[in-house]
């Protein structure tokens, strides 16, 4: 509180800050750091698939045990240490208070604590690469009995450390989640009624709600798995009277909502960008929110679509299959309304808009291919093949990176007070879009041929020889995809220090965060809180003096 009046030291301003904007940036940098490691794991996976048992440049031979560990870490890192920090934590922190006209989060100290838990969790996960026995190697889904007993994998310390790191990450997200929810409810500026709250904030909070009430079972489940590995219990071990499917239920009860925790906020940020660069109001704001609520609720009751052929009672499959496919109804509404928002606009293809449109174009493929898996009978064939690998990269990658780059490029001026380079941004988009599709599109066809996922050595399957050429092209394209990210990293760090200074509201956006200075000052607003008078998307209103009406004059 006294921060506003007292000068801040470097430490309290940048390191142990409780300012939500700084914490948001800290999460962003943490996520970017992990993205580099995630990319390295992706490279090793791709190398081994295309050139099995030959030394990967820069690493050496990837043996089977290492492959499984790298694969497990790849999934864990990308989902919990890249997507969650960037999409959920960084932007919830940075955006929610700015968009609703608060000075900070409801609980700034808890917020800072949430970041430091994530740092601790990161240190533990990183260190698990180097313990004897190596990192956890039972897949990011960690199914027991495989994960529960070292004798099955040879992994000793890796599994408990993996669980501990995840537990800390969940604690971090829970602290953050309490904050996001409480902030939206209690910290809105005068006049900021719920129907004036921008969609990005709504979607971020909706994602958090999905996280918040689904993570509990996995916490309980993780404690049980930890006891199975360390205390000799047998919750999941049939030999000791336990039940292996119990873990799968607990994991997916969380795991399915979790993928929406990532996807929903990304779509929210895309919705923030569409109106600005087409100079049009969001079409059907309230209908979007209603569909969002339905999808977020449905997310809780579809988890067993990951378990159709797990050996659970086959009679349960049909209800879950029907509910799963039903999700396409609210999602289709959200898609149609995004299209309606574009219709009749003045579409300007600036870099954030390119990412937003790219998100829609690519995620559509991921969403539609979900139907093949949601129908239990066709999932008999596709389950655990590369078709699924392609499906979830076509959903997670657009959410994490198309959504992430859309958000970073759009809010960069507000975060750092400077502009990114537009030409580099366009190249980065074009290359990433092409190369991403180049990596994962062919994998649908490879999956349809029956190639199983999580195999360390495709050369053992003679019939996979027909794909040797495809696989090595895919790997080359994946390496290029990773290299293309250097354009972004250079652009980001050079612009951070030397970019063109940005004005307050460079894109003429209506939402609150653009009405304060760039970068937003400590405390966000001057002496007076903004008085909100307009909705978030009043663009091109006939008779208005300019083509947008800011939510408040600051």
């Amino acid at each position: 509180m006294s921060d506003m009046t007292h000068p801040q030291s470097f430490l309290s301003k940048y390191i142990f800050s409780t300012d939500h904007k700084t914490i948001g940036k800290q999460f962003l940098f943490l996520g970017m750091f992990w993205a580099l490691i995630g990319a390295a794991t992706a490279y090793l996976i791709r190398w081994q698939i295309a050139h099995p048992n030959t030394p990967a440049p820069g690493f050496g031979i990837v043996n089977f045990g290492q492959y499984n560990a790298i694969l497990t870490m790849h999934g864990t890192i990308m989902v919990f240490y890249v997507a969650m920090p960037i999409i959920v934590a960084a932007f919830s922190n940075f955006l929610i208070p700015l968009q609703i006209g608060a000075r900070d989060m409801a609980f700034p100290k808890l917020n800072a604590l949430s970041f430091w838990f994530m740092v601790l969790s990161s240190v533990i996960l990183l260190s698990s690469f180097f313990v004897p026995g190596g990192a956890a190697a039972a897949g990011w889904t960690g199914y027991p009995p495989l994960s529960a007993d070292p004798k099955y994998t040879g992994v000793t310390w890796g599994t408990p450390l993996w669980l501990l790191a995840l537990a800390l990450a969940f604690a971090s997200s829970t602290m953050g989640g309490i904050n996001y929810l409480a902030t939206l409810i209690t910290q809105r500026a005068p006049g900021m009624t719920y129907s004036k709250v921008p969609l990005a904030t709504w979607f971020l909070v909706a994602g958090t709600a999905d996280f918040f009430f689904s993570v509990g079972p996995l916490v309980a489940g993780a404690v049980m798995l930890l006891m199975d590995t360390l205390a000799g219990t047998g919750f999941y071990l049939p030999a000791k009277g336990g039940e292996p499917l119990l873990w799968q239920h607990l994991f997916w009860f969380f795991g399915h909502p979790e993928v929406y925790v990532i996807f929903v906020p990304a779509f929210g940020m895309v919705f923030e960008i569409l109106p600005v660069f087409s100079r049009k109001a969001i079409y059907g704001y309230k209908l979007i929110l209603a569909s969002l609520a339905v999808s977020v609720a449905l997310a809780y009751v579809v988890w067993a679509h990951h378990m159709f052929i797990s050996g659970m009672n086959p009679k349960l499959a049909m209800p879950f299959s029907v509910l799963t496919i039903l999700i396409s109804v609210p999602f289709s509404i959200i898609f149609f309304l995004a299209f309606a928002t574009l219709k009749g606009g003045k579409i300007k293809l600036e870099v954030p808009m390119l990412w937003a449109l790219g998100f829609i174009a690519t995620f559509l493929i991921g969403g539609l291919t979900g139907i093949f898996l949601g129908s239990a009978a066709s999932d008999i064939y596709f389950h655990d093949t590369y078709f699924i690998v392609a499906h979830f990269h076509y959903t997670l990658f657009p959410a994490t990176f198309f959504g992430g780059f859309a958000a970073v490029t759009y809010w960069f001026p507000k975060m750092f007070g400077r502009r990114l380079n537009e030409v580099a941004g366009r190249w980065h988009f074009a290359l990433t879009f092409l190369l991403f599709n180049g990596v994962f599109w062919p994998l649908f066809r490879v999956g349809a041929a029956g190639m199983p996922r999580r195999i360390a050595d495709p050369s053992q399957y003679a019939w996979l020889d027909q794909f040797k050429g495809v696989q090595s092209v895919v790997t080359t394209v994946a390496v290029l995809l990773i290299l293309a990210q250097l354009i972004f990293l250079f652009n980001f760090f050079i612009s951070l220090f030397w970019g063109k200074k940005s004005e307050k509201n460079p894109y003429h956006s209506a939402t609150l965060e653009w009405q304060t200075d760039s970068p937003a000052p400590h405390g966000n607003w001057g002496e007076q809180l903004p008085q909100v008078t307009a909705g978030p998307y009043e663009y091109s209103k006939p008779g208005a003096e300019s083509d947008f009406t800011p939510q408040a004059r600051v």
């Binding site: 509180m1 900070d104 609980f107 902030t183 209690t186 509990g216 916490v219 219990t233 009277g241 119990l246």
Partner: protein
């Protein structure tokens, strides 16, 4: 700067705190709920667990139920005293709550050690795994609650709790959760 202080620390500090506590309680209920549902699902196919259940000391469990219920009551009284802004009374009633919580833990500890003496450990079979998992998690929550109550109790007895009296209510909410969880665990483990 007073107007700014007001907004910086949240426009309705009490409300935000209460909300946060309810969210926390919600997420705790999901954790315990998952453990309970897992237990019940396994229990359905394992009639042989009755034998193990019979080895639990239902009297000790009953005693602990009463102890915890009483502590919930004294916690509610402490909240009432906090509403009256009477710190001395708050301190007394929190002290009573702490004492009862300590009794609960002693009984629990005695039960555990009796089990260990008879060679019963979490790894004995899945029933005992669940027993130790759920009562252990619950005991952990008792300890966390006791830490929070101790902090309030020290401050209240020194008479320095005045600006934070609303924390008695929040801690009380949490403490009732701890109580309610036990009220589910007791019949499920000891009686069914």
């Amino acid at each position: 700067m007073s107007s700014n202080n007001q907004v910086l620390s949240g426009s309705h500090p009490g409300e935000a705190g209460r909300l946060a506590m309810w969210f926390l309680i919600g997420s705790e209920i999901v954790i315990f709920g998952a453990a309970v549902v897992s237990y019940l699902l396994l229990r359905l196919n394992r009639p042989e667990w009755v034998v193990d259940m019979a080895r639990l000391n239902a009297n000790a469990g009953m005693l602990n139920t009463l102890v915890l219920l009483t502590s919930s009551f004294s916690m509610a009284l402490a909240h009432a005293a906090a509403e009256d802004r009477d710190q001395a009374k708050v301190a007394k009633r929190l002290g009573l709550t702490l004492l009862l919580a300590a009794i609960f833990l002693c009984v629990k500890g005695w039960e555990y050690s009796a089990k260990f003496h008879h060679g019963i450990f979490p790894s004995t079979n899945v029933f005992w795994s669940f027993y130790f998992l759920m009562t252990g998690l619950h005991a952990l929550h008792v300890v966390i609650g006791m830490i929070a109550i101790t902090v309030l109790w020290v401050r209240a007895s020194r008479g320095t709790l005045a600006p934070n009296l609303n924390r008695v209510e929040l801690t009380g909410l949490y403490w009732h959760l701890v109580d309610i969880v036990w009220i589910f665990l007791f019949p499920m483990l000891y009686l069914s």
